[in-house]
């Protein structure tokens, strides 16, 4: 027996089972379609409830339309204009997008952002996972360790960056003083060096890796202990247990942190601004893409061009994210799939 909102149908009455749709089944589908297509008559109370619902939701809806959808749509239009805030916007079509081809800051900002992304995202993934594995051990005082390691990630990015500016000072900073004391006479000039600036920022980011570790830790603690027990009975070692149980069951968490990490890497602004100023550090070594957008809009007064740059970022980020989602079915394992 199968029931569908009061329509009881005996499967045995549906005729032959095969690839062709049986006549009784077709009739049932029609009934369903008719039912779905016909709205129940609305009474006055239902209408009032509907109105009240919209009324209660209206502040949020209005806010979304005015402050989210409106600006998003406006930026699409702006990207096809020249606008400097002072005079009315002038329609230029795709000219802003064509201008990017000639713009060396555009290429530099892509180079910086990609270099950072390729360095930072995998490193933070691995470091976060390793830290989470450590924090998942049954050790006395673990709650304290977890708190200590998570603390840096709740600090303001600007404050942390300002702290690291002095730590990484090439002449007086603590990092180079330590390096000199262990015999490295000519340590990197870090933020002052075009080739070391991005590695320095990546190194700084490790400070906040506790945030990612907490997410991995939640993932680790969701893995049923019975699986580990079964693996132990089967004679699996630590390494095998990690690769055969822990890692596959953590892949949904990895997918999440990968996406968050990528989006974060595409949006680096405050750290770059504090470390390298609005000009983007020595020889543009810290000219991240979003910093370049900010420069074009708020320093150069080219809001149309800045909007076009923003839309290129949105499309590029969307493509990367869609690609990851499409390929995720090959490497992300959901327990329910078993």
């Amino acid at each position: 027996m199968a029931g569908d909102r009061g329509v009881d149908v005996n499967l045995e009455d549906l005729g032959a089972v095969g690839t062709a749709e049986p006549p009784a089944m077709a009739e049932l589908q029609k009934t369903r379609r008719r039912r779905r297509g016909r709205r129940p008559p609305k009474g006055r109370i239902a209408k009032k409830e509907q109105r009240a619902g919209f009324l209660f939701a209206s502040p949020w809806l209005l806010g979304t339309v005015l402050f989210v959808l409106g600006p998003i749509l406006a930026s699409v239009l702006l990207s096809a204009t020249n606008w400097n805030l002072l005079t009315s916007a002038k329609w230029v079509g795709l000219e802003n997008y064509r201008d990017m081809i000639q713009d060396r800051n555009f290429y530099q900002s892509i180079k910086v952002t990609l270099f950072y992304t390729m360095l930072a995202v995998p490193l933070y993934q691995v470091a976060g996972l390793l830290l989470a594995l450590l924090l998942n051990q049954r050790v006395r005082g673990m709650y304290l360790f977890r708190t200590i390691l998570f603390l840096p990630s709740v600090l303001s990015g600007v404050a942390v960056a300002a702290l690291w500016v002095s730590l990484l000072n090439p002449d007086l900073g603590a990092v180079n003083q330590v390096l000199r004391s262990i015999g490295i006479d000519d340590p990197p000039r870090w933020l002052a060096s075009p080739s070391w600036a991005i590695p320095a920022v990546v190194l700084m980011g490790l400070w906040g890796v506790g945030g990612g570790a907490i997410i991995y830790l939640a993932g680790l603690q969701n893995i049923p202990p019975s699986l580990y027990a079964a693996a132990r009975i089967d004679g699996a070692g630590t390494w095998q247990t990690f690769w055969q149980i822990t890692f596959p069951l953590l892949t949904p968490t990895l997918l999440f942190t990968l996406l968050i990490g990528l989006i974060g890497a595409f949006q680096v602004f405050d750290t770059a601004f504090v470390l390298g100023g609005s000009r983007g550090g020595t020889r543009g070594s810290l000219l991240f893409y979003v910093l370049n957008i900010w420069n074009e809009g708020f320093r150069n007064g080219r809001f149309g061009y800045a909007s076009a740059l923003a839309w290129v970022l949105v499309v590029a980020a969307a493509v990367v994210i869609v690609l990851i989602f499409v390929t995720s079915s090959r490497w992300v394992y959901y327990e329910s799939e078993s």
């Binding site: 400097n84 002072l86 000072n169 020595t282 020889r283 080219r302």
Partner: protein, 428 residues
Amino acid sequence: MKHRWRPLVFLAVLALLAAACSKDEGTSQADGQSSQGKVTLELWVFEGEDTFLPNLKAGFEAEHPNVTVNITLIPEESYVTKIDTALAAGKPPDIGYMYEPRWMKAGKVLPLDDVIASEHVDTADYNQSAFSYCHLDGKTYCLGSYNGAIMLFYNKTMFDEAGLPYPSATVPMTIDQYAATAAQLTTRSDDRADYVWGGYADVTTWWLDWRIMFSEDGRQVEGLLNDAPTIHLYDVLAKMVRDGTSPSEADFQFFGDTDLLVTGQMAMNIGENVGTPPALDKAGVDWGAAPVPVEQAGDQPWVSSWSDFWGAFASSAHPQEAKEFIAYVGSEGNRLRAEAGNLPLNTKVAEEENWVGDSPGRAEVLDVVKLARPGIFLPANIFSLDSPLWDDFSLIIEGDLTAQQALDDAAPAMQESLDRAWESWEQI
């Protein structure tokens, strides 16, 4: 029946919303027309003018009993953004600092030529380097009260001890003479606290004539920034840092906010005239002032200058009173500046008010300021153009690049930024 009201109510709400969101540009009066009755002028100014502003307000209100001046203090770093936003919203103050020439170009600022004539504001003895900033397309858009200028300050005692003549207050040294003098005045020590640096070397955009790197029309960088005299200039400046005759960035970071000329750890320093002389006087330093060194022999002296460029926004509801206020700043405001101890923009007022007093150093400051001449016009803030130069100067000091390589590299990057700035300017 009640449903009939709904469209009306809807339209009324829409109208209210539209009125709330629309630009209020229709209230401004025609130029030259004075408001009737009580008038409130809104001023947006920087913080930190605790002596001058109350006197200015009181003085103007006494002369114009129907006008109340309402002062709003805005942090300097967010001033331009706030004005830009207010202009976009159609609600700027009546009066503000004209820190962006694009506001003038866009017609957002009132020309002051009529009120300068009618109020007899004498601008002939203004510092012409600073005042040139107020001119655009033959019109004057702002007036100022104080005289900010960059010059070379030096410690006379150290010159005496080294047996060197004082730099002239009217004829600048060449960069080579300056570097040689700095080398003679330097006293080396392994301990930073005991080191005395003879001079100061840095990127030149903030203290030297832009003509050494930009064409007279402000459109060309390539070929000028990287010409032989400028390459030599940067070579000498970088060598001063490398040789320890000028403090390095690390030295400045080590000492923090300390003014090394004031503490007797520098013999010469390039700095501004607003804060340095009082600090030197307070520290009891016997000091002098001279124009900054020039690129090569025969170059005219250069005095980078600025003021508090007061202007009236075109959307002011009281344009006549606003312009009268600025005329007051441009004339009486200069006297109030002198009374507050600042050098007025008008050097004649400085003399009349005996700003120099019995200070030989102040007399030299006034001599230097009188050398100021108009600068060239650039369509963007210099600091949005010169970042490649700052980067490359560090690399010359480090020895990673020669001055020739560095300037050859910086020139096209700056040219690209400049071209873009002109393009944006012409679109206004």
